[in-house]
């Protein structure tokens, strides 16, 4: 998919620039894109490694595990059909907790394992089950509570207070996730009555 996106951005961008008489800006845009990306990365190396260092402590000390164990009630509400002793619950909890703290590399493997378990429960069908739809909607609704990368970008652009947006971000994240969950619950419920 990114082959298409990247290619069409470059091609459409250059064609439209020429049509709009802005062809003199193309070279500058090409060079600045690379330059800005690298200077952003340098700031990010500093900010992100502090965060991942702290999160490593949270993981090794069992703090992350402790938090994901506390998600039991939420999981039962979201996925009533998954048995209490299923490993799928553990994987989903690990995926959600890693997402809360923006640990993408920890979230994805746990999430893929969760999907495998859900697929087994779904008899390896190629049609997504209600549990899968719920899991994916929650995952794509953004769960990240502390968006360290946004804080890093803001500090790169000389914000007076890079972290001031965190609370507003948490509110918006909670709203988006709740909207997704409500939608998934309505759609899941609909399907059940239709089957009966």
């Amino acid at each position: 998919m990114l082959n298409f996106i990247w290619g069409s951005f470059i091609i459409c961008g250059i064609v439209f620039s020429v049509i709009n008489g802005k062809s003199h800006l193309i070279t500058d845009a090409l060079l600045n894109g690379g330059k800005d990306a690298v200077s952003l990365c340098i700031t990010m190396v500093g900010v992100i490694s502090i965060w991942t260092g702290i999160m490593e402590i949270a993981e090794k000390s069992g703090m992350i595990k402790g938090i994901s164990k506390k998600l039991g009630g939420i999981l039962t509400y979201l996925f009533p059909k998954i048995p209490q002793n299923s490993v799928a619950r553990e994987y989903i909890a690990a995926n959600f907790t890693a997402n809360f703290f923006g640990l993408g590399w920890a979230a994805t493997p746990a999430g893929l394992l969760a999907m495998e378990e859900l697929s087994k429960m779904n008899k390896k069908s190629d049609v997504a089950s209600d549990e899968m739809c719920m899991f994916m909607i929650v995952n794509t609704s953004s769960l990240q509570l502390v968006t360290m990368n946004i804080v890093a970008y803001r500090s790169q652009y000389m914000s007076q207070n890079p972290s001031e947006i965190i609370f507003a971000g948490i509110i918006a994240t909670v709203v988006s996730t709740m909207a997704g969950v409500i939608f998934a619950k309505i759609m899941g419920g609909k399907n059940k009555s239709w089957k009966n």
């Binding site: 999907m115 390896k124 652009y157 007076q160 988006s176």
Partner: protein, 175 residues
């Protein structure tokens, strides 16, 4: 509202404080563990660097072409009615597709309006509460060979739309 900004500023220090304290109380070697984690962070950033370079470059080219302004103008009826800045429409759309490409537009907004302007803050909050829907969905569903995703895409788009609306009002009220 001042108090909520103070909460924002306290969240990271509280997490750092409680994690270090908890780690120390569990008797793990906190310093070495931090170093291990920091290494992971450095390699994560290095891993995404080429993607960021590629997509930010392509987005910058797209930006100067004026094509994004045309797309933003198509949404004018909606943005004028709701008061949502039309300049942020490309960011909303890009965010669904690629996080790195969206970063390119975000830095463009920071560069033009400043990160502490209404536009800069709203863009920051929006980036915090939305997700790369298409990428995440294809990654997870392809992994288990799902062909019919049923209402997943609709749900993902609705939750992202609600996120953007919430970001808009939260930014208006808080700052």
């Amino acid at each position: 509202m001042e108090k909520l900004i103070i909460i924002s500023n306290l969240i990271i220090p509280i997490i750092v404080f409680s994690t270090v304290l908890f780690g120390a109380s569990k008797g793990i070697s906190i310093y070495e563990t931090f170093i291990d984690g920091a290494k992971k962070g450095i390699s994560t950033v290095f891993d995404i660097a080429p993607t960021l370079i590629a997509l930010m470059t392509s987005v910058y080219v797209l930006r100067v072409s004026g094509l994004l302004d045309i797309i933003a103008n198509c949404f004018k009826p909606i943005t004028e009615f709701t008061g949502f800045p039309s300049e942020l429409i490309p960011l909303c759309l890009m965010r669904l597709v690629s996080s790195s490409a969206a970063t390119g537009l975000l830095t463009d907004i920071f560069g033009t309006y400043g990160p502490d302007s209404f536009m800069g803050r709203l863009a920051s909050v929006m980036m915090s509460c939305t997700e790369t829907v298409f990428y995440t969905m294809s990654l997870y569903f392809l992994h288990v060979n799902i062909r019919k995703t049923r209402y997943t895409l609709a749900g993902a788009l609705i939750s992202n739309l609600f996120g953007i609306i919430a970001a808009f009002y939260a930014t208006k009220l808080l700052f």
